[in-house]
């Protein structure tokens, strides 16, 4: 496989890690009414 294929795989993995980190650590901290919850 060429370099571009692995760049695409890497960007998808970076994206997946970023999304999982955001969902796990940032998103649950606040609800729509602004109250903190976990």
């Amino acid at each position: 496989m060429g370099l571009m294929f692995w760049l695409l795989v890497a960007s998808w993995i970076v994206e997946a890690l970023m999304i999982v980190a955001y969902i796990t650590y940032a998103l649950p901290k606040v609800s729509l009414d602004g109250k903190q919850h976990q």
Binding site: G2, L7, E15, Y22
Partner: protein, 488 residues
């Protein structure tokens, strides 16, 4: 038009009409027309945003780039994949929370409310309309050409049919219809990929054989950089452009206002992981086309030519309809976005208060709803008319130029509104004006690419925002504290 095409067109149109009818039934108020009552879950919103972002460009133009330049054509996906999640993470939650607290319905409305300034609201709405009409023209031209090719009817009739269809379902169902039809069109688009790529790869003999055939024809087709187009600088510029553009893209950011709760953002993000991977795989069809069809096909038509060559006529007709869906799902998002700006941002939030009226009164909301429907017809017809009498010569150039101008003007004020308490209305106004003017100068007299123009526009706009905000009086402390204490 053969019977398979007729069947596929009838199926597609039938589904769109049914969803428009559901949207119309759900549209009982102006709030329904603009933010769909803020009642949709993450999967529907994720699919609808995906289909609006990935227009005919992603399903025809980008495979065409891969067909012409080989693997370097995939650079657009490195940018789009990285931007897909980042754009949501940066703005979706705060946009939804701020809009709930201030009663905002659109991005210009949110900025107007946040900066307590009708100048901000009016200026951004005007820039939105000026920059998106050319983008709509480009999309109508693509739809007209595609329908002309599929059905064998004149170009003007193809544009007219696509315009009438989109006006009908948006006029009837507003934001509800837009979200529902776009989610359905996303499924069409995913099916197109699943039909074309596995069959094409099996005919080529698999991915390894595909690469061998490309390398045998020309080793440059396997390279990550191609000096003909995707040089190192253009590739990096492409990635930056997508991150900036998708973050502030008004015609998809309007979907964050329709989420029923911020917790649904995680479903949006997870859906993107799947749908963007599928859309990336679609670009492989360009490489498959290069091997199976040779190098003499018009690049933008490679997916159509490939489908007609390798699929049963019934499935090929379905692919052509799926490609039409890719274009229509972007046209409707652009059109409803301009309609909301006229009916809500200009009429309800600026004109009515100036005349001493109450923007929340039932009479005003009814008038705004009617005005929104009229704006769908007027701007849809205007863009389609212009696409017929003066079809833009270079589709991608005019499309990306419109996007570059809006992004240059809106990126900094939008991010500052959400993240910088000290940012002021004067800072927002001047950063918008400077971003707008600089990007136009870069694009036209200086002939820079839309990617480079956006980066220059955003950098100058940032400097202006910081300098002007720090030299003007701070914004109302009460509003800023309320917003930021609820969205940390």
């Amino acid at each position: 038009m053969d019977r398979w095409t007729l069947l596929a067109v009838a199926l597609y149109s039938g589904i769109m009409v049914c969803l428009a009818w559901i949207g119309a039934k759900r549209t009982k108020s102006f709030r329904d027309f603009t933010i769909a009552g803020a009642r949709y879950g993450g999967l529907i919103i994720g699919l609808s945003v995906m289909s609006s972002r990935l227009s005919g460009s992603a399903f025809m133009g980008v495979p065409g780039l891969a067909y012409k330049f080989g693997w370097s054509g995939f650079w657009i996906w490195v940018g789009a994949i990285l931007a897909s999640g980042l754009s949501v993470i940066l703005v979706a939650r705060k946009t939804r929370v701020f809009s709930q607290l201030m009663g905002s319905y659109t991005v210009p409305d949110l900025l107007g409310d946040r900066f307590e300034s009708n100048s901000v609201r009016t200026l951004l709405t005007s820039i939105l309309a000026i920059s998106l009409v050319p983008v709509m023209m480009a999309q109508f031209k693509a739809a007209g050409l595609l329908i002309q090719g599929v059905a064998g009817i004149p170009y003007w009739l193809g544009v007219t049919i696509s315009c009438v269809l989109v006006i009908l379902y948006l006029g009837a169902g507003g934001q509800h219809a837009q979200i529902l039809t776009d989610a359905a069109q996303a499924i069409f688009m995913v099916l197109v990929c699943l039909l074309v790529v596995p069959r094409g790869l099996s005919l080529v003999g698999g991915l390894a054989q595909l690469n061998s055939a490309l390398a045998a024809e020309n080793p440059v087709l396997m390279d990550a950089f191609n000096p003909q187009y995707f040089s190192f600088a253009v590739s990096i510029g492409t990635v930056l452009f997508f991150i900036l553009n998708l973050t502030v893209q008004a015609y998809t950011a309007n979907r964050w206002f329709s989420l029923k709760d911020v917790s649904q953002i995680k479903v949006v993000l997870l859906s993107f992981l799947v749908t963007y991977a599928v859309a990336t795989i679609m670009t492989t069809s360009g490489l498959i086309g290069r091997v199976l069809l040779g190098p003499s096909v018009v690049a933008d038509n490679v997916v159509i030519a490939l489908a007609q060559r390798i699929l049963h006529p019934g499935l090929a007709a379905f692919v052509l309809v799926g490609l039409t869906a890719a274009i229509m799902s972007t046209v409707d998002a652009l059109l409803i976005s301009v309609s909301h700006s006229v009916s809500n941002d200009i009429y309800r939030k600026v004109y009515v208060p100036i005349r001493g009226g109450d923007p929340d009164s039932p009479d005003i909301e009814r008038t705004a709803l009617r005005l929104g429907r009229v704006a769908v017809v007027v701007f849809g017809a205007l863009s389609a008319f212009l696409a017929i009498v003066r079809p833009p010569q270079f589709l991608s150039l005019i499309l990306y130029s419109g996007v570059a101008v809006y992004t240059s003007a809106a990126f900094v004020p939008y991010l500052a509104a959400l993240y910088w308490k000290r940012s002021t209305a004067a800072g927002a106004v001047w950063s918008m004006i400077v971003g707008f003017v600089v990007s136009i100068i870069c694009l036209f007299p200086w002939k820079m690419t839309p990617f480079e123009s956006t980066v220059v526009g955003v950098v100058t706009s940032t400097i202006v925002m910081v300098v002007v905000s720090l030299r003007t009086a701070p914004p109302s402390r009460a509003l800023v504290e309320k917003l930021f204490s609820h969205s940390q």
